[in-house]
Each structure stands twice: as structure tokens, then as C-alpha cells.
């Protein structure tokens, strides 16, 4: 059994949710709220993963020249693949 929450929503948001329920997009206002919370938790999880990886990459970055050189090498490989007519995965 889940926990219950009492929410105070701005009138406009509440009306918009009601319209979506009436249009049959969601079975109830509760279903909409559950969906919105799941979406937000999923986004937070992704943001957390992104922060962890970018933080690791940022620590390795010495200067902008390094970035330019790395991208140029990657673009050279793209040129090679495209010139050969090879589709990248």
C-alpha cells in the first residue's frame, strides 16, 4: 500500500488536469499525478547519471585546445567513414 499525499495545486493547473481526465488521457487526477511523479523521478535519475559522468570528464579536461583536437580527430574519422560511403551506427 502506498502513502497518501495531500496536494495544493494552483487552480489553473488543476483545471488543466481535469480537462485531460475528461478527454480520456488519464483515468483520474491521481493517475496524472502518479505519472508526473514517475516522469520527474526518472528525469532526476538521468540527471544524476549525467552529472556523475560529466564530472569525471570535466576533471580530465586540461584546456579548450584538448577539446578541439579530440573533436577534430573524431570528425576526421567521420570524414573517412562518409567518404567510404559507410553508414555509421
Amino acid at each position: 500500500m502506498g502513502s497518501k499525499l495531500l496536494l495544493n495545486l494552483p487552480e489553473k493547473d488543476s483545471e488543466k488536469i481535469e480537462m485531460l481526465v475528461e478527454a480520456g488521457e488519464y483515468a483520474s487526477k491521481s493517475e496524472f499525478i502518479r505519472f508526473a511523479i514517475k516522469q520527474a523521478l526518472y528525469s532526476e535519475e538521468r540527471i544524476g547519471e549525467l552529472k556523475a559522468i560529466t564530472s569525471k570528464l570535466q576533471k580530465q579536461t586540461k584546456n579548450r585546445k584538448q577539446i578541439d583536437e579530440e573533436v577534430e580527430e573524431a570528425k576526421a574519422e567521420t570524414r573517412r567513414l562518409l567518404s567510404k560511403g559507410q553508414e555509421e551506427s
Partner: protein, 134 residues
């Protein structure tokens, strides 16, 4: 705005806390790029930065950018090649995306080669996006 983002600015935004990072994570725009550009980022972080395949995939999936399939841009490939292929063939996928995607607001890149398509699309430098002018 809906912006078509080059790998140079995206990669810079991910690995360096600089102006590109402020634009990408501002939450003010929707960014779109191609599989080719995402592959470039994937190749750098796995081959140069030592990320595991799984970490690199998570990075690509988690960055706030929509990556479109190659099939989405293939119809505009020939025209894109005519527009920019003579300067740099690696820029063709992004221009093909700009030709394929309706309603976008331009290309975000610091690459001078995109000057070639300035008459056709708006080309945004990072500093223009930070100060809100194109």
C-alpha cells in the same frame, strides 16, 4: 528555441564547465542532433577519455539532446552535400538535419564551415545564445 547542435559544442558542454555548458543546461532550448554527431562524441569519450561502452551510452542517452535516426535525414542528404560537402563532408549530416526538420530555429555551432549555409539557416554562435541574439 529548437536548435540543431553540432558535436563540437555538445562535446564541449559535456566535458568543460564553460559557455557551451551554460547553454546546453539552461533548460531554455530544445537541442537536436544526428546519429553521426552522437557517434563522434561516443568515439571520443570511449577512445580518448577511457569511458566504458556502458558509461558512454548512458552519457549519450542522458544528455538533454534528441538524437535523430539517419533514416530521418536521408532524403535531404544530396542537397546537404551540395550545400556544405565541398567544405567538410563531416558537416553534411547536420545540414541534412537542418533541411529535414521543420520549424527549427537554426544551427548551433562554432565551426566556421557553417558560414556556407548562413543564407539558408540561422547559425548561432555560443556567445549569441548567451546574450540572446542571432
Amino acid at each position: 528555441m529548437i536548435l540543431i547542435a553540432d558535436s563540437t559544442v555538445l562535446y564541449s558542454a559535456l566535458v568543460y564547465r564553460g559557455p557551451e555548458s551554460r547553454v546546453l543546461f539552461s533548460g531554455s532550448h530544445v537541442f537536436v542532433t544526428t546519429q553521426s554527431n552522437a557517434s563522434e562524441i561516443y568515439r571520443i569519450v570511449t577512445e580518448k577519455r577511457g569511458l566504458k561502452d556502458s558509461e558512454a551510452l548512458r552519457l549519450i542517452e542522458s544528455m538533454p539532446v534528441l538524437v535523430v535516426e539517419n533514416s530521418f535525414i536521408e532524403n535531404e542528404w544530396k542537397e546537404a552535400e551540395e550545400l556544405i560537402g565541398g567544405r567538410d563532408i563531416s558537416d553534411v549530416p547536420l545540414v541534412a538535419l537542418a533541411l529535414s526538420l521543420p520549424g527549427h530555429d537554426g544551427i548551433w555551432s562554432t565551426d566556421k564551415d557553417f558560414e556556407a549555409v548562413r543564407g539558408r539557416f540561422r547559425v548561432w554562435k555560443t556567445r549569441d545564445l548567451l546574450c540572446g541574439k542571432g
